[in-house]
Symmetry: D2
Subunit: 337 residues, 4 copies
């Protein structure tokens, strides 16, 4: 943590800052410049980081307070250099293979649907869960479905193999804590208005509640552009591989909102290094009760899955070490760096 | 709903669109242009709006589908021209008076705190609720506090007079439905990434669940600007008065994140027509366990409250009818138009 | 153009709207709904589109005015279904090949540099242009460089083969008109705060000034995310191929601001269908006078160029017709649809 | 400037960073923490700030480089605590009075109009300038008009008293330098996609070119909200008064895009401490050749101007020292702090 004192701050004001730090067993290193004093704080700031920033910020003579370490720990690659690999019914996510969620490697189905309008179709509920479990039995594929409130976690965990937390619930802390206690992997979609740091902090809630099996899913963020529903932030893929050991999948259906943009963006996601792709598929999109506009037909899905696997194979040979160009962060032993 | 057919769409494609509409008992009005056909849909589109948009969008020959009516109904001023006035323990919100939440007209306190970091102070929980209820008894002022999950609604409603839904839970539909069934007014903060339309749809969830007493609270939206924590969208105040009958309050503390910006922005909010102001106050901000940076001291609060009341008085005389300049929408009988 | 009348608008108000339209030789088609009147305007709205929207919007009884055709014409694929292919010194851009700008297919160099700070290095000016022209002579490669004001167009056009308009000048209309009159292809970078529609309108300025040879360059847009300098909007690539016949290249260096993110994002851009890639390269990035942080070394560039060409080859075979999934827009004869 | 070394960075890597700093006559202060080394740079970083950040960022072992001083100097209140007051034909801007630009204190007219579409009305050009000069003679009021390219600066400066640089040209550095050399005050509108820091850097271009008379004009920024054309960032008003000595005016017409939102937002701007308001006025908005939707009639303008002056009077008495609550920055002698 770096505290920049204002030009003209007094000796006493700097002394008060040092006193405040001492109360938390932190040491202040003063750096005297030509125009102002800069105080570097060293020691384990993490446990009191937010509180301390709040307190220091309003002390007389303080110009700014800047944290220098990241607020997430368990999800950070610095603290855990090896990739997290998640295994469900024999399928692995994050081991260098490509996971396609929709019916290829993992079955995807929505029983509870979060809808912007209270008048729209809200999903089939528990009945939908049993259909999904049945499909899993027939195919042998693991299943993923969304959970929307803490009280649903138990029943969904009973029927589905992976729990999904949706974009609108990314900062529903009660839900994050609840899925953190369920014995199932969790796919955490990025909030459409959330920064990457907030997303990792949300993952930190799940991991710190006891569940290390978190898959991150980029699904587009909200920007001023209106031609597409959201702006797919594909740069998040290599960035997250740098910052965290958790696997990263991409959902091009919700981000673009348009069926014909799904294939090119799925290919781009794989080329950027995504561990998986999640797409909307429907046998008859014109009869889907929701999200028809972005759903692929079975034929389109099969065609796309083939293309994705080929690009994935080639990208792996071309980029044995995708982060060879990485400058700053060095962490020992990770195959991704 | 307006369906624009593509240039070169066939007769049959337009006929298929009309067939689809007929299945929902809607009538198609064709408008033949020089370059393309435009089909206007009339009839009660609202109940099937989302489904229909999804289906029509993917039909061959369809270029675009544009809705022309707003998706919210109960919260719309068109359907309910009179202002909603909410009364709690003799205090009225939305009747033309200025409500100051922090200790002036309504007591504000957080028992459960939504925190970005799992390592930050999470509030005192039920113990905090009893302190708040005690303060209410001593002062006679109504209280407001945040509720974070459906299972908390009952206990919070027992101790507090107004339930608050926070910015990160604005689209937590389970929570919206739960507070919609509690017999208490609800203050719904705007999601920091939410449009005004989505905000009103979230209010619609509460109202359609049986609770018409919703107060909207603007608290800043996320933009590219980083000097302030969020960008306070004050234009939302007159805009909401135009679109809805619900009262609108403004929280300048969270939007700006800086104590010294609270007063000018609170004054601006009152000048823009806000029904109330909600601010963070703390007797010793440097000892606050959260949000100290944006909290006013008691003296600063008293000074600001006085200024707000004076500006409010004057704005009322200057703008007897703040919407006199309104062009488009005309609704009978509203004092706000 | 669709005019939605307010609920409760009078007969006379609708009649006034129709009168207004008649003055521009446009025909009104009325559509009577249960709650309101919707007037569809047909005829050639384009030449008076903005003026008419402005006038109609403020007429009494008008709720909203929505345009239904796109405001750009010459750059639209609807009006020009075939891909535009641009040829410079025997190199083709937009013909299905992959153009790599930095020294592979086209030489890139900045003589005039737009800098946020007046105190930063501003480029070598005309002296830099002669260096670039010399490099072109030695290698036989065409050159591209930025032009910053109308008075520079002539001298830059004399020395460089392609003129670049930078992100901060995307809506510098004087400059757009000036390069529209130069006999050189123009690469138009997207404004970091510009929508795709505004970008195409800026291209329309160039094309309507007489220069049909415009290359569009996506370089990231400004969002709330701060880990990366900007958010690279790769969905713009397939979207632009759908909306316009102009070639689209991607600049991953400026968008990400970090050298180690360049390669994965360049691969993703090619997988999404980009016609070319433009990157920053410097023999000794640590000695570069600007943009060193995002510059590749020669070795890194050579490695990346090889990978890009391989992915490009494979993507071409996998997606013979990248827009096979396109629903809505159908235009005759285009190989891209 | 603060350089955070990566966990695991070697002694040699830190030594290389110190060497680099020494080459610029800067001193490195090491701060050894439990997990990493943090190097504070003191000395006059400003002249080489950008170059140094670029170089250090890519050095091995460097995790991040954070500047701690602001990049603008001449426009900063730290370097110039007193308010800048601009006088034109006896009218003062920034002296505590309220300036209303549209015909009340300063006449506003557009001769050259920047238009998104090349097919829209582009202004009357030099002919328009003579009309404006004539109006000035008749009324004795100073005039303001927009200049769009360096070559127009001379002719516009001949006819108008204040030169306006529009939102799309805020980073047109050639134009900024040109108006920096004209002997006329300049009103610099905020770029709709620009941060406050970039805006001040643009002002720095003008001031460092020799012209200290710059008025800043907030006119809305681009966000995801689509009900209004842009989001008016009123918090920028007190924030700018804190950061800079230049006067700040607000344009509520362009930000909202709707006539009936102009009055409430103008009132809010004055309450937030704006030095002036600029609005669109037209005797017959329905016949305006551009921007009719947002123009006030003469009567509406007169009504609003009266209200603004009353609120301004009251705000002045209520907030003798609007920055009394300011914590961090302290600068000697300024009446605004």
């Amino acid at each position: 943590m770096i505290i920049v004192m204002a030009m003209g701050a007094t000796e006493q004001e700097a002394a008060d800052v040092r006193d405040q730090l001492r109360q938390y067993n932190l040491t202040a290193h003063d750096n005297y410049g030509t125009q102002r004093v800069v105080i570097a704080v060293l020691g384990d700031v993490a446990p009191v980081r937010e509180l301390l920033m709040s307190k220091l910020s309003i002390m007389p003579g303080v110009e700014s307070v800047t944290p220098i370490t990241r607020p997430y720990k368990l999800t950070s690659r610095e603290s855990h250099p090896e990739d997290t690999v998640i295994e469900v019914l024999g399928t692995k996510v994050g081991d260098g293979s490509l996971t396609i969620m929709a019916g290829a490697t993992i079955l995807r189905g929505g029983a509870f649907k979060p809808r912007t309008s209270p008048y729209a179709f809200q999903g089939l509920g528990v009945e939908g869960l049993t259909y999904l479990a049945e499909a899993s039995k027939l195919t042998g594929l693991p299943t993923i479905t969304e959970v929307m409130e803490p009280s649903q976690v138990e029943v969904v965990a009973k029927h589905a193999d992976i729990l999904q937390v949706g974009t609108r619930n990314m900062q529903n802390y009660s839900l994050l804590t609840a899925v953190g206690k369920a014995g199932r992997p969790v796919m955490l979609k990025r909030g459409y208005g959330a920064t990457i740091e907030e997303w990792l902090m949300a993952a930190e809630y799940i991991v710190s509640s006891g569940n290390p099996h978190v898959i991150l899913c980029e699904r587009g963020i909200r920007t001023f552009e209106t031609y597409t529903r959201n702006t797919l932030d594909l740069t998040a893929v290599p960035l997250l591989h740098h910052l965290t050991h958790l696997p990263v999948v991409v959902d091009p259906s919700h981000a673009t909102g348009k069926r014909w943009l799904v294939k090119p963006m799925a290919l781009a996601a794989v080329a950027a290094g995504a561990d998986g792709i999640m797409v909307e598929v429907h046998p008859r999109p014109d009869q889907a009760r929701s999200d028809g506009e972005q759903s692929l037909t079975f034929d389109q899905f099969a065609d796309m899955a083939g293309a994705l696997n080929q690009i994935h194979e080639q990208v792996r040979t071309l980029i044995k070490d995708p982060f060879a160009m990485t400058g700053p962060v060095k962490v020992g032993g990770s195959s991704k760096h």
